[in-house]
Point group: C2
Chain length 345, copies 2
């Protein structure tokens, strides 16, 4: 769980955009979609995809590891979801499912999730074009060795009609404490949905945005190229960043928010027990303080990395043992204290 992982870094517009994700949904011709496939058919898919990627001399072939989901412990599987490498649905039923994962965890390919292939590229900060390019390169590589289900009219065929066409979903994870505090997130999300985009809480249930983290993604995959979809997202993200930055200035001019930000740093530096939800709340405040120059001494990338590393299952995988909730709260506090020991307060 070192900083060699993509999520331990901060990228372009990192003060608002914590990460970028592009995923492509693909299916193989002449084989039923996973939810209608039997065990043998699923195993065929796994074998075909694995061979297509690993039996070759590509850079990717040397960097990617194959995981049979049934061979992972419960914690390892849950940790994959905590690291956003797989969907929660993917690990709920692991029979016949497999994962291909690059060493820095920025490329993950789920096999037999909703579709045969879910090619996913993750990057720190705003990196939509770069991520799309990487996804395209993998897609091209695979398409040379696999027969994709493709229709001239509908494009790539997918289990769910909302993915037909490009099969591409691109998203940005945005930290929006200013817009959240202003109370305008509901209205903005409504307007964006009319433009074919979705804006919702990145973590937590429904519209509740834990840590003021939101996910902005395209909804339209039919009749719009991948490049156009990405351009639309970039344009909207630019507007959101501008509004967010203006609102943050207002927030941070108040004693109440300064108080909250410095207290958060003080608590992260001192607590001996740290529940997960509190960590998320405090990391959001410290992220805001670091982004706007109120706090110093810790890299934004370290905060990005922490928000992954202190998740319950990932903590246990890191420690290499089962832990009680209190043990986890203690280890979480230790890791946070260690990272924040040099924060200016």
């Amino acid at each position: 769980m070192s900083d060699s992982k993509w999520y331990g870094r901060a990228g372009e517009s990192g003060e608002v955009i914590s990460s970028t994700r592009v995923r492509l949904a693909r299916n193989l011709k002449n084989l039923p979609f996973p939810d209608r496939a039997g065990r043998e058919e699923k195993e065929q898919v796994v074998e075909k995809v694995r061979d297509a990627l690993l039996n070759g001399n590509s850079v990717l072939a040397n960097d990617v590891k194959f995981f049979d989901l049934t061979e992972l412990s419960r914690e390892e599987a849950v940790s994959l979801a905590e690291r956003h490498l797989v969907s929660p649905e993917f690990i709920a039923e692991r029979e016949g499912r497999a994962l291909l994962l690059s060493s820095d965890e920025s490329i993950s390919i789920m096999i037999n999730e909703e579709d045969h292939l879910r090619i996913q590229v993750l990057r720190e900060g705003q990196a939509l074009k770069e991520a799309l390019e990487t996804a395209d390169r993998i897609d091209t590589l695979l398409s040379e060795r696999l027969d994709y289900a493709y229709d001239r009219e509908f494009g790539y065929l997918t289990q769910c009609p909302t993915n037909l066409g490009t099969g591409m979903r691109a998203s940005l994870t945005l930290h929006l404490p200013g817009l959240t505090e202003s109370g305008s997130m509901g209205r903005i999300a409504e307007n964006l949905s009319k433009l074919g985009m979705t804006l919702r809480g990145a973590f937590g249930e429904g519209t509740k945005a834990l840590g003021e983290m939101y996910q902005l993604s395209n909804q339209i995959t039919l009749g719009l190229s991948e490049g156009q979809a990405v351009e639309n997202l970039l344009s909207i993200a630019g507007q959101l960043i501008e509004q967010e930055k203006r609102l943050r200035k207002d927030l941070l001019s108040t004693a109440q928010w300064q108080d909250q930000i410095f207290r958060a740093a003080g608590i992260l530096r001192t607590a001996r027990l740290m529940p997960g939800e509190e960590a998320t709340r405090l990391l959001s405040l410290v992220r805001l303080g670091l982004s706007e120059g109120k706090l110093k001494g810790v890299d934004l990338g370290a905060v990005n990395g922490l928000s992954v590393r202190v998740q319950p299952a990932t903590l246990m995988v890191g420690a290499g043992r089962q832990m009680s909730p209190e043990d986890r709260d203690r280890l979480r506090a230790d890791i946070l204290r260690d990272t924040f020991q040099n924060i200016s307060i």
Copy 2:
């Protein structure tokens, strides 16, 4: 409000006993008790007492200042009560009342409170005998120049019969987080009342002990000498200290209490707004941490001084201006941050 005041220091058994108070109730012969006295009679008392103390060559005469209560601002008057130099009742109705106060504020004489004179000596830590000696010396000095109301059978005559006899009330302010957490304070207070002693929350209403601070005092003033009363208090205080220290060891071995103590230090070092009640709660935790060696870098005397200096009216008197509650929360946070900047966390 510098540390030249008695309350900016820590004394004997300071880890549990924050301060000692001895007060003597005295009345002048041939003048009605204050609640039956007219304005002129009260003024006579004020004049007699002032002259008795200030017209002379005693060390005290040079060190003590006279204050006509009606000439103080509201904040100055309330601050006197916050510093425990006068009772809240004393400033509620200021006509005909005066105060004599030594420069380190360890000696205060209220004139025309419930009795004509309330001679009060305050000291840091456990200093019952020293405080009693000082009170006696002042009492002797005054008795040479004033005619006290004294009865061979009842001793010093006082407005309230519970003070008849010695007119002495001695008390210790105790910090008892261990005993509070153990839930045995109610039982202990009940047992002590049978022994003629009172144990109750030092601040706050009723039995609620803000900051886990309690006041232990003698109740019996008739048929028991001052020295005996002090010996009884010392004996009980010794037992309470022993129990408290044992319980603190148990508390501080738990992750929950370590967490609370270090968080308190972290928040005091970082907060930009600090409400009064929260300050009391956090100072109690930091006091515990410093006393037991979990925290370092700040003197216990500084914590004693702070708990007085950050009171609302005392804050305003120190700043020399009227302040809104938010302004006070800000100044309180600034003062606390300043004091705790070198605390080990």
